[in-house]
């Protein structure tokens, strides 16, 4: 193998052309740097929130202060976060725009670069775009409204559907869960709220896009999806940020509630710039015969710690987690999934695929837990890791806690490099080493990409290509 061309390995350069543009900061309101009780109160006041939410935020703030930083994972990196250097709330426009024409020009440019309106015109059912902390554009297809589906941003939901929000908000992930969930609970802003009434079926995916623009900004969106009995929905989120030299923090909380017989699929393509700390808590409750899927792709960020979870609390519930990570130069993708079985006849699978290159590190971290009442559980976990060079690293940290006799649990993992025979075979058919490697990596990820809508899968393949360009050969 020829020596690598170091210049071409600067991923941020490529990222810069496509996603790394930065708009001039132009905010209606920008909270002071750092976090204090006063800032939490101010955020709530700015948003004209009901009293219970202000109290909830303040309580969460106290919990955030009392919780220690995690003592596991990449502690060196997490401890670099300086909570006093972050802007916790930035308000880019006055209110949410209903139609694309009402969105301010600079923000429109941003999303046009990201291709959002075009995507919507083509086939998307609804779009929420979150720019910094607030959702700025959002449209819901007529058909959804007819079915009684609510798809809006979280702040609007709190105003327009206060009862629903109050009933379900924070019931899946309480602020006590972990330090970053507490932080999000204290300063959250934006995110999506989806409510599907009984038997509502949304055939086209609902989409949201999140973007950080300001330096040292924090983005703390809060997403809540409630799928009532027999309903089904596919939700897709994507995220980007410009390449700013100072680190930014993204700490979201995502709660899914799948009632009896419902189906939720939640897809994430995380493509933050390489200076974003991405520390996200995602958890779903799957009730009787519900089916919850997390499809989680992690390409960007400096450090991602994200382990989407499903608690199977109803008989016959099912869960699939598909997690894909690509760790390049200076990145640590600490990802995986958790399945907690608390009811009989439940089943689940976790498939994890990771590629590490250019000194990147990817870790699979997972949990399978069964409680005694969860009889006849079936679980399968499969983790595959590819290491593309000897500067990179791959870890597997699975934990299985099996309490109960009638469980059938399997876990398998492998770590390898691209086989010389595979490369040789492709090169003997006229492919360059670079193309052959790309092809093998894309093939490795196929289980993931085939689960995505077409243009996302094209996008992902292109992103992988971008990340790998010129890295070999």
């Amino acid at each position: 193998m020829a020596p690598k061309t170091k210049e071409s390995l600067d991923l941020r350069e490529d990222y810069g052309t496509k996603y790394g543009f930065k708009d001039p900061e132009d905010y209606v309101f920008k909270a002071k740097k750092g976090l204090s009780r006063k800032i939490v109160e101010e955020i709530s006041w700015m948003k004209k929130e009901p009293g219970w939410m202000t109290e909830f935020r303040l309580k969460a703030y106290d919990i955030f202060l009392s919780k220690p930083m995690p003592t596991w994972g990449n502690c060196d990196l997490i401890n670099q976060i300086d909570f006093s250097e972050i802007y916790y709330y930035l308000k880019p426009t006055d209110g949410t725009a209903k139609s694309w024409d009402d969105v301010p020009e600079n923000i429109k440019n941003t999303f046009e670069k990201l291709g959002i309106p075009q995507a919507e015109q083509k086939f998307l059912a609804g779009v929420t775009a979150q720019y910094e902390s607030e959702a700025v554009y959002h449209a819901v297809n007529k058909d959804l409204e007819k079915q009684g589906v609510i798809f809006t941003d979280m702040d609007t939901a709190l105003k327009e559907h206060p009862k629903l929000v109050r009933k379900y908000f924070s019931t899946v992930i309480p602020p006590e869960d972990n330090k970053f969930a507490a932080l999000n609970s204290a300063v959250w802003s934006g995110g999506s709220f989806i409510y599907l009434p009984k038997n509502a079926k949304v055939d086209l995916p609902l989409q949201a896009y999140f973007r950080i623009n300001a330096a040292k900004a924090g983005q703390f969106e809060r997403t809540l999806i409630i799928a009532d009995e027999g309903s089904s929905v596919h939700y897709i989120e994507g995220c980007t940020a410009p390449s700013i030299s100072e680190d930014a923090l993204h700490s979201a909380v995502v709660e899914l509630i799948g009632m009896k017989g419902s189906h939720i699929r939640y897809t994430t393509i995380q493509n933050w710039a390489n200076n974003v700390f991405n520390l996200v808590t995602k958890r779903a409750m799957a009730h009787e015969n519900a089916f919850v899927e997390w499809v989680d792709g992690n390409i960007g960020s400096k450090l991602t710690m994200k382990f989407p979870a499903v608690y199977l609390v109803g008989k016959g519930a099912r869960a699939d987690i598909l997690s894909v990570a690509f760790a390049g130069k200076g990145q640590h993708q600490d990802t995986g999934g958790k399945l907690v079985f608390a009811a009989p006849n439940t089943s689940g699978t976790i498939i994890s695929k990771s590629v590490s290159m250019d000194g990147g590190r990817s870790s699979y971290r997972g949990l399978i837990k069964t409680y005694p009442q969860a009889t006849d559980v079936k679980v399968n976990v499969r983790c595959d890791a590819l290491l593309l060079d000897d500067e990179s690293r791959s870890d597997t940290y699975p934990t299985m806690e099996i309490d109960g006799k009638r469980a059938d649990i399997g876990h398998e993992a492998s770590v390898s490099k691209i086989g010389d025979e595979q490369l040789f075979y492709l090169m003997s058919r006229g492919l360059s080493e670079n193309d052959a490697t790309s092809m093998i990596v894309n093939g490795f990820f196929e289980a993931f990409t085939k689960e995505l809508p077409l243009e996302y899968s094209v996008e992902l393949n292109r992103l992988i290509q971008l990340e790998m360009e010129g890295s070999i050969g």
Binding site: D389, S394, T396, R406, A407, G410, V415
Partner: protein
């Protein structure tokens, strides 16, 4: 048994023990099995004693009690007390052991010597003292070969056993560690094996006894071409609680390691197996394998499994697998179709789960004794 140097070390260790705080229960090592089970706050040198040591076999090798070995070759034996502790989580245990160990064994096989007769180190724990602190030191010189059994039996107490093994180039060791203490004992075992170039280790753990059992088996593949093969079986019943750890640490190229750990649990017994394969950056072309199987024979039994991989170089082939579940219904059906009732069939399957390791034991009486323990436990 003591010498001037040892006295100083014992003093120092007592001080370290006093200075060191108990590890916090949020530390992963102690999260599920609290450190307090060992009751080290009650420790004093007066209520510690070695187990009764019986040594047999090993014609041609130097087989001594550790006390004899310290007297005969202090400068060679003493440093082994301080080798091999990589984790500060066990600093207090190590300090207690150095401060007050007694009862131990020493095996030394000279260069090129192949010892045919298996060596048996039998520790009979003494219930009249609160703490039992045995130690084993094994050194195989270049090209030497031996088979060693370390067995723990006897009365209930809190025991901390430390084993230090060094295998020089091309040396080959087959080692058995068996733990059959009463079900009200608490036991900790720390075994550290360092392998030189092309050395080979075949290690077998048989874990059946004690109320609380915690073990650390660290295998360091330090020399190019070293190979290790680790096997473990664990059988638990009633409210026994086991916390076995294995570490396959690849620190040189072309090293190979394999690990199979089998657990069967009934009643309210619990096991939390943790295994680590770590391949260091400079260790290329390594192969590592790790498999943990858990058989749950009762509704109340609980098995946790955390097989961890940390892989730094790219030229590796590494796999691991872990399963947990009840006795395979298809196998029961197959045996039922041949007229074997389910209870008997389950017993046969459990015996079959353990037999590959039990049959390797070099002493007939141990094989029979352990088979009887498994057979009695497998009746449901």
């Amino acid at each position: 048994m003591t010498t001037a140097t040892l006295d100083v070390w014992r003093e120092e260790s007592l001080k370290t023990l006093e200075k060191t705080a108990d590890p916090a229960n949020i530390v992963e090592t102690w999260r599920r099995m609290p450190f307090q089970h060992w009751g080290l706050d009650r420790f004093s040198a007066e209520n510690a004693a070695g187990p009764k040591v019986t040594l047999e076999g090993g014609a041609g090798a130097e087989v001594l009690t550790l006390e004899e070995a310290v007297a005969a070759k202090e400068s060679f034996v003493l440093p082994t007390l301080k080798t091999g502790l990589v984790s500060s989580d066990f600093l207090k245990f190590e300090s207690v052991s150095i401060a007050a160990w007694s009862g131990g064994a020493f095996v030394h096989v000279p260069k090129g010597k192949k010892i045919e007769e298996p060596i048996r180190i039998s520790f009979e724990h003494d219930g009249s003292k609160t703490f039992q602190l045995p130690r084993v030191v094994v050194f195989l010189e270049e090209g030497a070969e031996a088979t060693i059994v370390e067995e723990h039996l006897g009365d209930a107490s809190a025991s901390l056993a430390f084993t230090r093994i060094e295998l020089a180039q091309n040396a080959s060791l087959r080692y058995f560690y068996t733990q059959e203490l009463p079900k009200d004992a608490v036991h900790f075992s720390h075994q550290h094996v360092a392998l030189g170039k092309d050395a080979r280790l075949d290690h077998n753990s048989i874990i059946m006894g004690a109320q609380h059992h915690k073990s650390e088996l660290e295998v360091l593949l330090n020399g190019r071409g070293a190979q290790s093969d680790l096997r473990g079986v664990l059988f638990g019943s009633e409210d026994q609680f086991f916390d076995p750890h294995t570490h396959q640490l690849h620190r040189a190229s072309n090293t190979m390691s394999d690990m199979h750990f089998r657990v069967a649990l009934r009643d309210k017994a619990r096991s939390i197996y943790t295994g680590l394969i770590r391949i260091e950056k400079d260790a290329v072309d390594c192969e590592a394998y790790q498999q943990n199987k858990n058989l749950l024979l009762s509704d109340g039994a609980r098995a946790d499994s955390t097989p961890v991989l940390e892989i730094l170089p790219d030229r590796v082939a590494c796999k691991h697998g872990s399963t947990a579940g009840p006795v395979d219904k298809n196998q029961l059906f197959y045996l039922a179709a041949r007229g074997i009732p389910p209870a008997e069939a389950a017993e046969m399957l459990v015996m079959g789960f353990f037999e590959p390791i039990l049959e390797r034991l070099p002493f007939e009486d141990m094989r029979e004794r352990l088979r009887a323990v498994v057979a009695a436990g497998a009746q449901i």
